[in-house]
Amino acid sequence: MVTPQTRQAFETAQPLTDNAVAVRGVSKNYGDVEALKNLTLEFPRGQLTSLLGPSGCGKTTLLKIIAGLLEPTAGEIEVNGKAITGPGPDRAFVFQDFALLPWASVMRNVAFGLELRGVAKSERESVAGKYIADVGLAGFENSFPHELSGGMRQRVGLARALSVDAQVLLMDEPFSAVDEQTRRKFQEDLLNLVQNENKTFIFVTHSIEEAVYVSDQIAILLPRPSRVSEIIRPSGFRDKGVDNIRRDPEYLDIVDEIWASLRNYVE
């Protein structure tokens, strides 16, 4: 039984005019292996788009190409209408393994992006201090990463990405290395973040529930070679409050449908 709302969610995937990021005909080969093949995808401004798919489907490769960390073999990436050639100030990355500097305090880690841009110490520390407080780590400015829990470390990674004030936030399975309860809290916080910050989020995940819970748009990638098989835009439950999403019939239907289309690709 598919509700009308669910059908609408699958059908209203019409092109939006204002895209923060556009991926056009991107292919990526590693030697003879085709990781991505002629992939085209658009990321609407101010929204959260998830890249969802089984492992080995090239989601992280695509994200790193968008970040400018990998060269595509063919095709191009446009950010705000301009083709990119490498990393840029318009994009910030949140890493799966946090990628914190173990020898540096929380303050220096969060301010590191600004430090690399040559921002003066007092200025970057005041910006970093604000975001450290925003992610709930006030009082830990002088702690070192090894003194923090996994969840707190990822908050540091998030604060670092926020403090450079990029319009596009690229998140590579950011919650996969934290425990289930922390992950749920992160997902709720992420929804608030999408609502309050006027940023575009590109979010890689392998969790179907997580993707449906946080996304405005879900791109399902299928592997070997990777392509976009489906774009889903959940729309009905976003305004019902974070506590009600997981009970919403549309949420449950979308989760089921995605699983139905992915299950054949999981070994």
Partner: protein, 253 residues
Amino acid sequence: MSNRSTYLKLLSAVIVFGAWEIAGRIPVSYAFPTFLESMSALARMTFDGTLFAAYGETLKPLVIGVAISAILGIVLGLWIGLSSVFDWMFSPIFIVMQAAPLAALIPILVMAYGIGLTSKVFVVCIMAMPVIVLNTSSAVRNTPESIKEMGRSFLASDRAVILKIILPSASPIIFSGLRLGVSAGFIGAILSELKITPTGVGDIITFSRSIADYPSMYAAIFSIILLAVVFLNLLEKLENTLFEGNNRGYASD
């Protein structure tokens, strides 16, 4: 915690020196003085200035050699770690250097560079440099990919990646290489004074042995070990000041 570790250090010193004293009193050998005899010889040499004059000589090749080894070693190690061409060109030299029986090579060094300071500095460098170079290069090569990627994604220049990411990340292993290299440099300095020309502390050791003044000989050996320990502790302090977050306590804590 720091109190406990101070007590433990004192305790281990008492045990070692106690065992030395007992072994000297038995005696295990005619040529093995007691701890107290050696300490009184050490005090005598300190107060009559012999020791300072000796260290004036010994420290020259030691300090020059260790400084060259540390600076050149870290720079070369960095290059070797960053570039496969440098690795191909230089790594074998240091591997050979590390494995070479140094005492057997000293005559060649003396033929080439004479019996002066140059040869002694060479001996110190041959002892100290390989481990510094090899540790640095392997630490640089093993910098975690994700923090290098992080640097690039936050727009770090190549220079910033090396100075702010690769070197600090390699620092614990670079410092352990420095500690090993500096200790080897101390051995090299004394070895060169025993094998090339007897000067400084090496002269005290050789001369005292030749006149069977064993307390003085052991006092000289003790003093060089003491100096090495003090220097290694300073090195550790330097590391903790430069890279505070690297100090993560002990695995069992």
